[in-house]
């Protein structure tokens, strides 16, 4: 090959790489814009309306009676928590679906989220715990269920993993029902927070804890997510290209922790993890994007929280109930698109 040939061929490669990358940049920019808009709506509008200058004045420390307190202690932590758990559920779900190469294999379908809920309900109703220990129980529950699914269901890549997860979900759901039926009405109120996700109890302490978890998990994710480029080609080719067998498993563990901490912070916000990945992919020309899925997660959580909080009559509907209601039609859409077939991840 002569030098001019080489220059020409390299130009072909550059050109071919450009279009998908431009679309990806556009998708991320659009989703970021949407997420910012949703955040602004959640913070500024609702039962109390703020102007943008007021918002920044309060943020800078100016005291406006009632308005300051409401913004700083309720609306702002609530919206920030919504952003964080949206990121966790969206990214965690997309990693599950991509690693297991199946859009049905999201953590809320295969029981990881239920593991967190069941452990928290158990801690509340049987052990009588409240507060932080319950959150820790939720994290441990998610990890324990994930490990159990892995040990019974076999290596990453098989359909067994999903079947085991679905079976485990049913078992955990009946355990929760049993515990609830024996509990006092007061305890049930506390336990219910762990069954339908809600941003109702958001405070800065929760936000801080979740930020700390993300500071550890996101860099791990950034390094580990690269193995998806080879694991998507099948286990054989992944190995042939130098990906270690445990790489996808470590990536899954990061995803389990993302989802577990999010559940510990807000309860299980149903189906956000399930919906975010395929939505982001549909926008991105069918290509998997974890960052895109995280942003879709943010938009979903913030939008559902606003609608549930302010737009449905006089009652406040927890965000998890609304996203759960959206999950079923979404599943039908997924099936109708035929996206559950051969290599959907």
């Amino acid at each position: 090959m002569t030098v001019t040939d080489l220059v020409r061929d390299v130009a072909v490669v550059r050109r071919a790489r450009r279009a998908p990358r431009r679309r990806y940049a556009l998708v991320l920019a659009g989703l970021t814009g949407l997420a910012i808009a949703a955040f602004a709506v959640n913070v500024l509008l609702g039962d109390y309306t703020y102007t943008v200058p007021d918002f920044f004045r309060i943020l800078a420390g100016e005291e406006i009676p009632v308005a300051s307190y409401l913004l700083m202690e309720s609306k702002l932590p609530r919206a920030v928590l919504g952003v964080l758990v949206g990121l966790c559920f969206g990214a965690g779900g997309a990693i599950f679906q991509a690693t297991l190469r199946n859009p049905l294999a999201s953590p809320d379908v295969v029981g990881v989220t239920w593991g967190a809920s069941a452990a928290a309900v158990f801690a509340v109703l049987v052990l009588g715990l409240r507060g932080t220990p319950v959150s820790l129980a939720a994290v441990l529950g998610a990890v324990a269920v994930a490990l159990l699914i892995r040990s019974v269901g076999g290596a990453v890549g098989g359909h067994r993993l999903i079947l085991v997860g679905v079976a485990l979900t049913a078992a955990l759901a009946s355990l929760v029902q049993y515990l609830l039926s024996r509990a006092s009405i007061w305890d049930v109120q506390v336990a219910l927070q762990w069954l339908a996700g809600s941003l109702h109890a958001a405070d800065w302490a929760t936000v801080r804890a979740l930020v700390l978890a993300l500071l550890v998990l996101v860099p791990l994710l950034a390094v580990r997510a690269r193995s998806l480029r080879t694991t998507q080609l099948g286990d054989d080719l992944a190995t042939a290209l130098g990906t270690r067998r445990r790489d996808p498993e470590l990536l899954l563990l990061v995803a389990v922790l993302l989802v577990a901490f999010a559940v510990a912070a807000s309860g299980p916000i149903a189906f956000v993890a399930f919906m975010a990945g395929p939505t982001a992919r549909a926008l991105n020309g069918g290509r998997t994007t974890i960052v895109g899925a995280a942003l879709v997660g943010v938009v979903l959580v913030l939008a559902a929280d606003f609608v549930g909080h302010y737009l449905i009559g006089d009652i406040t509907v927890p965000v998890g109930v609304l996203t759960g209601a959206g999950g079923a039609p979404f599943l039908l859409w997924l099936l109708a698109r035929g996206a559950t077939g051969r290599n959907p991840a």
Binding site: G242, R281, N284, A345
Partner: protein
């Protein structure tokens, strides 16, 4: 033959559970040549190939790459020397040709997978050599079977390995594309000296394109060597349990296997005992 081949197996035994599929097998892969493994279904040829590519762990013995057991070496390091194209790679949704081929660069990229000028050159070179440069921005899902298989080979080329293993690279291709694929691999071997090991089903194409032919049965090697020495009526009878005649390929001079079957008797030059046996059936 070179006494220290880069890729060899040393009494390697590979199995699934208790079932032994490859049985204490010794194979020295000649450097810089094309080695083709043939054998009946379930004779262990794919398992041997997968074992050599470290996809399966041997229960005893070892696969040696440059004198070291391949399973104990860091897998990324191996991936820069030894490539594999499996029989059923998965095409990710929405992937373009250039993106797929670029994934072959994975073992050469750092922790964050930055795309270097060298990656760009390697991908361009792989596209040109497989005749897929015109397809670079197309979606792999939209390509024909023959084009898609060339793209997968381009991905393996972009990996830039000295040794390349291929598991039935001509499956699902019509005869014209089978020949095209094998010509392409021969080009690669002749121009770059890449050592190629592949499993093929078609005996006649295997005979024509192999420098070194390995015939396997029940996890062992029955015969190996130049195709003219391996492909005889006796060996084919043993390996495939098939009555046949072997004639010279009028194009390449390599052995050409003509199977007999139950409904046809050889017209000429059949050994009398074979002919009787066929008729008596």
């Amino acid at each position: 033959m070179n006494p220290n081949p880069r890729l060899a197996t040393d009494a390697v035994t590979i199995g699934y559970g208790d079932r032994v599929v490859v049985d204490a097998l010794d194979l020295a892969v000649p450097d810089g040549r094309i080695t083709v493994i043939v054998g009946a279904n379930a004779c262990g040829k794919s398992t041997l190939l997968r074992g050599m590519a470290r996809l399966l762990r041997p229960s005893s013995g070892a696969v040696l790459l440059d004198g070291e057991a391949v399973h104990t070496r860091p897998t990324r390091e191996v991936a820069r020397v030894l490539g594999l194209l499996p029989q059923h790679p998965i095409t990710p949704d929405g992937v373009t040709v250039v993106d797929l081929v670029g994934r072959g660069r994975h073992p050469h990229q750092g922790l964050l997978g930055r795309w270097s000028a060298e990656d760009e050159r390697a991908v361009a070179d792989a596209l040109v050599r497989t005749g897929t440069a015109d397809l670079a921005d197309r979606l792999v899902d939209e390509l024909s079977g023959g084009q898609r298989q060339r793209v997968w080979v381009a991905m393996a080329l972009a990996q830039g390995t000295d040794l390349l293993l291929l598991d039935e690279p001509t499956t699902y291709l019509d005869v014209a594309h089978q020949v095209e694929m094998l010509d392409l691999l021969t080009d690669l071997n002749r121009r770059s000296g890449t050592t190629i090991v592949m499993v093929l089903h078609d005996l006649n194409l295997a005979s024509r394109y192999a420098d070194h032919l390995v015939a396997m049965k029940a996890g062992r090697i029955v015969a190996e060597g130049a195709p003219a020495d391996v492909v005889t009526e006796h060996v084919i009878g043993e390996v495939f349990d098939l009555d046949c005649q072997v004639i010279p390929d009028p194009v390449a001079g390599s052995p050409l296997v003509v199977p007999v079957g139950r409904h046809h008797a050889p017209l000429t030059s059949a050994p009398p005992d074979r002919a009787r046996k066929v008729v008596s059936l």
